[in-house]
Symmetry: C2
Subunit: 626 residues, 2 copies
């Protein structure tokens, strides 16, 4: 089901309706996701007593609606007599089983509900902030935690009940599944609120299939759809619920990003062949998540009309193309804002894009306003006095680039989109966002950054996929894919002369990914060690040669430090004021990748190695040799 975060009344009403329909269909057991009543990523809403009481009431209403059927669902469970360690009321992330209007709880333990044992506290997860886990409860109760991990015996089934992380026990001292398997269990049920991350589903499928086979019991994995957010970071939930038989084979599988009531006959002879999750995610899954996440975020914010500033470049073209698959053409407006350095080439691409997508298109030039700003500020005199000398202000060329970028977003797009009755988009990609190659209140402005978890090279892949599989026929003009990526804010960024961004995306995207997305995230120290050992290309998976990019170690180091300084410096300062980001992969900016402004930092080892290299040690000599 789609869970609406912070809306227990809506969620409970949907659940009760699902129960009614399932009963009519003759189902025995209905399984809803984790935190189906309150939602999961709801910030500090957990501190509102009125909200918590309403969640309790809604849970009771679902229980009352379980006549003639068994319902399993997740919600917050309260113990108003105990305290959490923050001094607030005791809260559990809990699984409830209701049957024939009554609660059924685990055989052991103080509560008629199942308490989550393993609480994740990494990436976007903060479970320990609000919930007490079964391990702490066991300590309080002076019981071994394994004793509290007993199945729920209803009149119909013995259910091995788990919540999400409980099954991902590899790095924990406790294995809830192992503990449950010491009892007779008919069926395992794992309820989840598990955000989409590229590649996660295949891993998840392997895990649960193996668990079912190992336990020799059917297993139901249920996840919600919808979007939920941490303010800065917006997560999609793809559902993709699955039922496995006791040999680990898929009996039924819901479609990704779709609400559906899927019924499976547990333990038939032959497993379903259909709907088996694909082994590997790729561009189609990225597109689906971008499309779904954007559509749902618009719904959440009540956005009905959208303006996209189109430059003729690839990012804005992809953004426009994605929105053209969500909105009717009359509600999407493409805005071209040619400035002093805009080429006829890109202006034409922008115009052609609008024609191909069939949307409205306007041109609002920024030349006059940018000149006015220059006129007003350049030569402006700050009179002296009180011992202060007189001073005259100057707009240098770099500052004039930023003036143009801000003029486009904060002046034109903000006004045009509001007059159009809508919002404007932020088309930034992850490469720009990482190093702040973008202007604050300029191209980094907008209501939502739905491409900001994709490297520039991935934006190109998405563009090709859109043209090939989604838009077909006339899509993004081919020229947008061919021209040099460029901001066109100065003569040095003339696309017609093949000039543009200072980033060599095939290399820098991989370098930045190693800083941000790798499990063992790198720092300049590892990068320089690999460079010195001649291994950097293979470590990063860069197919070109670094000697083509950087003639000598000095050039390599200068580039590395340039971008690292920006990543930890201005890039971060800009990210703090950036729009919400749609999370697609590991370590989206915001709550999934937490950062502190501390300025750029280099270890002593890095500095020593750099000194050696710049003194002329040849590349290819391992630093272990010296």
């Amino acid at each position: 089901m789609e869970v609406r975060p912070g809306r227990p009344l809506d969620n409970a009403a949907a659940m009760i309706e699902h129960l009614r329909a399932a009963r009519t269909d003759g189902a025995d057991l209905v399984v809803f996701p984790e935190m189906a009543v309150p939602g999961y990523l709801i910030g500090d809403e957990w501190e509102h007593e009125a909200f918590l009481r309403e969640c309790e009431e809604c849970g009771e209403e679902v229980r009352a609606a379980s006549e003639g059927i068994t319902a399993v669902f997740g919600s917050v469970a309260l113990d108003w007599q105990r305290r959490n360690e923050d001094g607030r009321v005791r809260k559990y992330n809990a699984l409830f089983v209701a049957e024939n209007g009554r609660w059924a709880g685990p055989a052991c333990g103080p509560y008629p509900f199942v308490v989550k044992t393993l609480l994740p506290n990494y990436r976007e997860f903060d479970d320990s902030r609000h919930f007490c886990d079964l391990r702490k409860l066991a300590l309080e109760e002076n019981q071994p935690v394994e004793r509290l991990l007993a199945p729920v015996r209803t009149e119909r089934f013995s259910l091995g009940c788990l919540l999400c992380e409980d099954a991902w026990d590899a790095d924990y001292a406790v294995s809830p599944l192992a503990a449950l398997s010491r009892h007779p269990v008919d069926l395992y049920v794992n309820i989840n609120a598990s955000p989409f991350t590229l590649g996660k589903n295949a891993k998840r499928h392997r895990l649960f299939s193996q668990w079912a086979a190992r336990l020799a019991r059917p297993l139901v994995y249920v996840n919600n759809v919808g979007i939920q957010n941490n303010g800065k970071t917006v997560f999609t939930f793809d559902g993709s619920s699955c039922v496995y038989d006791g040999r680990g084979r898929v009996l039924a599988c819901g479609r990704a990003f779709e609400e559906s009531a899927d019924t499976a006959e547990i333990a038939p002879e032959e497993p379903f062949a259909d709907g088996t999750p694909s082994a590997k995610d790729g561009v189609p899954e990225v597109y689906r998540a971008v499309h779904y996440g954007t559509r749902k975020f618009m719904e959440l914010c009540g956005v009905r009309r959208v303006a996209v500033g189109v430059s003729g470049g690839i990012d804005s073209s992809v953004a426009a193309a994605v929105y053209s698959r969500i909105l009717p053409p009359e509600d999407l407006l493409l805005v071209s804002m040619p400035g002093p350095f805009t080429s006829e080439t890109t202006r034409r691409i922008a115009e052609r894009l609008a024609a191909r997508l069939g949307t409205g298109y306007v041109e609002v030039p920024i030349g006059e306003s940018a000149s006015l700003t220059r006129r007003q500020v350049n030569g402006l005199t700050v009179p002296g006095g009180n011992g202060r000398p007189q001073e005259t202000l100057r707009i240098d060329p770099l500052l004039f680039e930023n003036v143009q970028a801000r003029d486009r977003s904060a002046r034109v797009l903000a006004a045009v989109s509001a007059a159009f009755g809508g919002v404007f988009t932020c088309n930034a990609n992850k490469s720009e966002a990482t190093v702040g190659y973008t202007t604050l209140y300029g191209d980094l402005a907008g209501y939502f950054a739905n491409l900001a978890d994709l490297w520039k090279t991935e934006v190109y892949e998405l563009a090709r996929y859109l043209n090939r599989e989604v838009l077909r026929g006339p899509g993004i003009p081919e020229e947008a894919l061919r021209i040099a990526p460029s901001a066109e804010l100065s003569p040095a960024q003339n696309v017609d002369e093949g000039k543009g961004d200072p980033l060599v995306y095939p290399y820098h995207d991989r370098l930045f990914a190693s800083w941000v997305e790798w499990w063992n995230r790198t720092t300049p120290q590892e990068i320089l060690e690999w460079y010195a050992a001649g291994e950097l290309e293979s470590k990063l998976g860069y197919e070109g040669s670094l000697t083509d990019l950087f003639p000598d170690p000095a050039a390599f180091v200068a580039d590395l430090e340039r971008w690292w300084d920006l990543y930890q410096g201005m890039g971060l300062a800009k990210r703090i004021q950036a729009p919400p980001v749609l999370a697609l992969k590991r370590r989206a900016f915001g709550f999934d990748h937490r950062e502190s402004q501390m300025g750029a930092r280099y270890t002593r080892k890095y500095l020593a190695l750099k000194e050696r290299l710049l003194r002329g040690q040849p590349r290819g000599t391992s630093c272990a040799d010296s």
Copy 2:
């Protein structure tokens, strides 16, 4: 000491220098703060192996420098053989004792360092994200946690060692101090990385004084100074380290927000009278934290020159006055940007403010640019086609207000401050930030929002304090304190006619504080229940009468819902893109008060009560009656 987050080399060098000086002074024991080597609020920097290894090395260097002295300090401790529950290397928030070049660890337990037992996971704290606590370690070791809580016996002392939260055990099942007190202890040492929060110091002082008296032993409380941040939220650390004797009396106390090496003779006859922490924080402490936090944040970001957009209103006047106490007059520029609705009154106040503060002052009018934007967008035609009808855009008066606000910040201030070689400030207060009564990319823009944790009424208090105690003589023009608070963006906001903001600050500030800052944060349900019972004024501490503000329940409810909708809707959307906020009190926006975009929400109980009230039930009748 001042701890520089993410800079182990700098911190270790400072510690070694302190040890050298202390040895010369004949000190026996030197105590440094929690996480003195790595810093504490450093985001996910904990995942960099190169950083962790450097922290280890730096710790070894401090140990080596402990010849002839005992050093206690906090750092991250690693166990490279074990894993945390997130699968990453095992990390502890640890206290190290080094004496004569050797480590001294607790009598029991697997490590030569003390592991933090109680990990806070509320407000800005996320300890469980990165650290394993002593309770989990005890489970792994199959030992009761109390057994691992033994003193550290050095050649000189038996030290009862604690880390910060370990002493705040009221809501935990374990009391580290109680466990330690079962052993002979000469001295208790509590090391901290505890951010400043208005009013916290008095509470802390009470707690530690009571502990020392109860344990009948001297106790040393050490906290760092400096600032550290979570990206969005910037925290000051005030130090205020204290030594208590065995009767709970203060022997020595460091000054707030100052690095100093304070020496105390433990167990003398008479306690110090000086330096006893004040019982209650007030405006002086707020000013000190604003001044300190702003100065340190500028240092951190390398900001040397600042432009403040001055409107003649109170917020920008206070901002300018604070910066005038940090920067020399030639590095502070006040920028007045009169627009079509700016009064001569406020323009004059702004000019006078600059003259009084002795800073530079320029006027850059926005009329021409705002007109240009109106001319370019108003009447702009989106041609029809593909079945789309032609459409003509209009700039309505509200939109024109936003055009002016954005023109000031994103066009003028951004360019002027950059040409001045500096940044520009965000002068938003917490009242505006709560309900988004501010323009994104307009007055909500800037490099830092140092007043955004203060309600409007608190900004007035700060203004009066600045004039009386800090600036003395000619300070903020009195008129700025007298005129109606107004954005001056439309004829309806004419200050000369006493018109201005739609907020009645003495009431709304208290209402909003109940939503954001109260321990039991309210929702419209509680507010309406109290209103219905005639108790709202006293519950909020509002000294006026609500019937003067709202003639009937319908007016009251309309006002309540207007601001609640904005608080949970557009206000939040704007906060996500707001500058970093300086935290001063409980629940600063950002990491201290986590929010999810979910739209405005009302409980069923609220809706039912509202319906009853609007049907005419008189105010003063308790809802329990019905």
